[in-house]
Subunit: 418 residues, 2 copies
C-alpha cells in the first residue's frame, strides 16, 4: 500500500490521559485509536497485526483438531444462574444490558456457559467425545480501572478454546496437546524464548494447578519464579514448598522475574458440564460426567505485549511473523528515474507476495525515516539519485547499519529471511 492512500498519519503525541507505553506507541504510529479507557479501535495497520496473530493462533488450534465457531455477545441470564456466575456479588466485572421488555442480558464476559449449553444438543453418547471447540472474538469485562493500554482492556479480542473429554486421563491428553499448541503459538510470534509455562492456582473446585503462559517483561504485573533449564515456572501466588515439591522444582534453581500473562489453560473438571446438565452415556449405557478444560489467549493483549516488549527509543519493532508489512519503501526526492525504479521495485515486491508500505509522500527524507522506525516495519529500503539506478539501500529495523544491494539481491534476501 502507498502512504499517500492511507488515511492514518503518525502523530507526535498520544492523548494526554494515555499512560501505557504500548498504547502510546501504537497510537502515535497510527495502529490503534483510543475510544475510551480500555477500548481501542484497530486502524488498518493495527488490524493487520491483529489478523496476523489471529491466523497463527487459528492454524495451531486447527492443527490439534479445534473446531472454530462464533458464539454471540448477548447472553441469557438463565444459563449463568445455573453456575452461580450471574450475580454481581460473585462475578464483579459484568457488563449487562436489557431487552425492551426489561429482561436482563449479559454482554459476553466469557463463554463456558453458552458453549456447554449449546453442546447439550450434540453430545449424547461416548461416540460424540472427545472434542475441542474454539472461537476468536471480542470479550467485555467491566474493569474498575483500565490504564494498561492493550494489556488489560474492557473490550478485547480473545481466543477461547474448550475441551470436552470422557475421562480424566483423556482430559489430560487434550490438555497437554493444547499446551503444546500454545508453545508453538508463542514460538511463531517470536516470544517463545521468554515465555514460560507457569503453574498457578487451579481454582477452588480442583486440586490441580492451572497453567499460565508468562512472558518475561519489566512491565509485567505478575511475579513468577522461573527454572530456565526446565523451561517451567511457578506463580508467586502459589509459591510454597509443598507446591514446589509437587512440580519437581527446586528453590535454588529458580529466578524471580516480572512477567505478563499471555495465555492460560485451566482444568475445569466437570464443574460447568454438571451444572448445565451436559452428560454422556458410556459404552455400558451409564450416564457420565464430561471433563472440561479451557484455553485462553488474549489476542489484542498480544498486540500490546509485542509492541511493549520489542520497542526501542525510535518506536515499534515488529517480529516478522506479525508485522503489518515486511518492507517500508522510501524514494528520496522526486527524480523521474528514482520514482520509476521505486515503482518497479514496489510492483516486484508485491508480485512476490511481500507486503510493502511505500512512503510515496512528498516529504523530507528524515520524516520518512522516522515513520519507518516508529511503525516498526522489519526492513527499510531506500532509493535515491545519489545511490544511482542499480543500487538500493537495505536496513533491518534492528540493525545498526545499512547495506547496499542490487534490487534482485534485495528481493532474494527478503524472501529468504522473511
Amino acid at each position: 500500500m502507498k502512504r499517500s492512500q492511507m488515511f492514518t498519519k503518525t502523530l507526535r503525541d498520544a492523548p494526554a490521559d494515555e499512560v501505557a507505553r504500548n498504547a502510546v506507541l501504537l497510537i502515535r504510529a497510527g495502529f490503534i485509536s483510543k475510544q475510551m479507557a480500555g477500548a481501542y479501535a484497530y486502524l488498518p495497520l493495527g488490524k493487520r497485526v491483529l489478523d496476523n496473530i489471529v491466523q497463527i493462533i487459528r492454524e495451531e488450534m486447527d492443527a490439534v483438531g479445534g473446531q472454530e465457531l462464533l458464539m454471540t455477545t448477548l447472553q441469557s441470564r438463565d444459563i449463568w444462574e445455573k453456575t452461580n456466575r450471574w450475580d454481581d456479588a460473585v462475578v464483579d466485572n459484568w457488563f449487562k444490558t436489557k431487552l425492551k421488555n426489561g429482561t436482563e442480558l449479559g454482554v459476553g464476559l466469557t463463554h463456558e456457559e453458552p458453549i456447554v449449553d449449546m453442546l447439550r444438543l450434540y453430545v449424547d453418547s461416548y461416540k460424540d467425545l472427545p472434542l475441542y471447540v474454539y472461537q476468536i472474538a471480542s470479550k467485555f469485562r467491566n474493569e474498575l480501572r483500565a490504564k494498561s493500554g492493550l494489556l488489560r482492556g474492557r473490550e478485547f479480542m480473545m481466543k477461547d478454546m474448550y475441551s470436552f473429554a470422557r475421562t480424566q486421563s483423556e482430559h489430560d491428553e487434550l490438555y497437554e496437546k493444547a499446551a503444546d499448541a500454545y508453545t508453538r503459538v508463542y514460538d511463531r510470534l517470536g516470544i517463545g524464548d521468554r515465555t514460560y509455562r507457569t503453574a498457578a492456582d487451579g481454582g477452588y473446585f480442583t486440586e490441580r494447578f492451572s497453567d499460565e503462559y508468562q512472558t518475561l517483561s519489566k512491565v509485567g504485573e505478575d511475579t513468577i519464579y522461573v527454572d530456565k533449564t526446565k523451561k517451567l515456572a511457578i506463580n508467586k501466588e502459589i509459591y510454597t514448598d509443598e507446591n514446589l515439591a509437587k512440580l519437581g522444582l527446586v528453590k535454588e534453581d529458580l529466578v524471580e522475574e516480572h512477567a505478563i500473562e499471555v495465555g492460560n489453560i485451566f482444568p475445569l473438571e466437570s464443574k460447568y458440564s454438571d451444572a448445565l446438565d451436559l452428560y454422556y452415556t458410556d459404552e455400558n449405557g451409564k450416564k457420565q460426567s464430561v471433563i472440561m478444560g479451557c484455553y485462553g489467549i488474549g489476542v489484542s493483549r498480544l498486540v500490546g505485549v509485542l509492541a511493549e516488549l520489542f520497542a526501542d527509543d525510535k518506536g515499534l519493532v515488529w517480529p516478522k511473523a506479525v508485522a503489518p508489512a515486511q518492507v517500508y519503501l522510501i524514494n528520496i526526492g522526486n527524480d523521474e528515474n528514482v520514482v520509476k525504479n521505486t515503482t518497479e521495485l514496489y510492483e516486484k515486491l508485491k508480485a512476490k507476495n511481500i507486503e510493502v508500505v511505500w512512503d510515496d509522500r512528498d516529504a523530507r527524507p528524515g520524516e520518512k525515516f522516522a515513520d519507518a522506525d516508529l511503525m516498526g516495519i522489519p526492513y527499510r529500503v531506500v532509493l535515491s539519485e545519489k545511490l544511482g539506478s542499480d543500487t538500493v539501500e537495505l536496513k533491518s529495523r534492528t540493525a545498526e547499519n545499512a547495506e547496499l544491494l542490487l534490487p534482485e539481491q534485495l528481493i532474494k534476501k527478503i524472501t529468504t529471511n522473511a
Copy 2:
C-alpha cells in the same frame, strides 16, 4: 473434513419457538445455534458460509480503495449527544450498559459517530481526502420483536463503509463507485439476477434518495416496483408520480414485487461531519464541510437470505461461492476397497483445494443422502461396492439425476465448474 470429527449433527427439529424458515433450516442442518430471539451462534459450517460471504465483500470493498478497520462495540455517550442520537426517544433500539462508576455506554448500534470522531485526528487538509473506510463486525439493535431468524437480528454481522469527500460531485463519484461494488458483490453471491438497486427515502436532512439493494423474495418485508429492463426499482414508501419522474421510471414498465433488503447506501451530506466538527481546509485555506456517504451490507442477513431463497423441500441449497464445502462425499458400506477408494478421492480433492465433507460415519445410505441434501452442499459424490472401483456417482444438489464418472473426470468436472 470428516463427519465423524465434526461435533454438529443434523437435527430433526428446530426449537419450538423458531418460526423463520431460514433459521429452522440452518439450525436443523447444524449451521447455527439459537442463543435467544434474534441472536444466533455460528457453528463450524455456518461460520464457513459467513466467512465466504465476508471474503467476497472484503475483496470488493478493497478493490474500490476501502481501508479496513475495526471499531469498538463499547461507545461513549458524548459523541452521540453531539448528533442528537443518544436519547432513547430519538433512537429507540439502543442497547446500553454502564461502567462501574455509573457512566452510561452504548453497545455498537452503528458507527458513524465514532468513525467521524476518530477521523478528526487524520483529516485536516484537502490532501487528506477523499477516502473510504469500512469494517466487518457485529452490530447490536434492541428490536422489540425478532422473529425472522437471520433476516432481522438483535445481534448481527454487518459490513459498514463510510466515504468522505471534498465536494458534492466527488461524493457522487464515490457513491457510484461503491454502488458498482455492491452490484459485483450480489453477482458473486449468486443473487445478482434478482437483486435491484431501489430508490428509497434519503432521510429528513437530504433531498436525495437513498439506494436499497432489494432481493426479490416472497418472504420479503418490503414492497418495491421493479423495472426489469432498466434493472432499477423504487420502494413503495416513496412511490409518487413526482419521484418516478425524477428517476426516469414509467408506471407502465413497473411490476410490484416483495423483496428483502440486502444492502443500502445513503448520502449523508455533511450532517454527521459538521455535528462532530470534522472539516477540511481547501486549497485556498478555507474551512469546508466534508460530504459523507454510508454503505451497509447485512452479512449475517445474507446467510439467511441465501438459505431462504434457494432452499427446497429437502433442505438448504448453497451457491458455490459461499457453500461451506463443494463436495459431500459418501461411502456406502464399509467394504475395504470402497473405504480405500473413498480415502484416496478425499485426499485428491483436498490436494486440489476442493473443500470436502466426507460422511465417513457408520450410518445408513439414506441418512447420508438426507444429510447431504439438508446441508445443501453443491455436489454429492458416492462410492459403493455396487458401482465398482473405477466408478463414482456425481449428483449436483439441484439436478434431478446423477451421473457415473471416472474419479479423474469427476475432479475435472468440479474444478471446471467450481
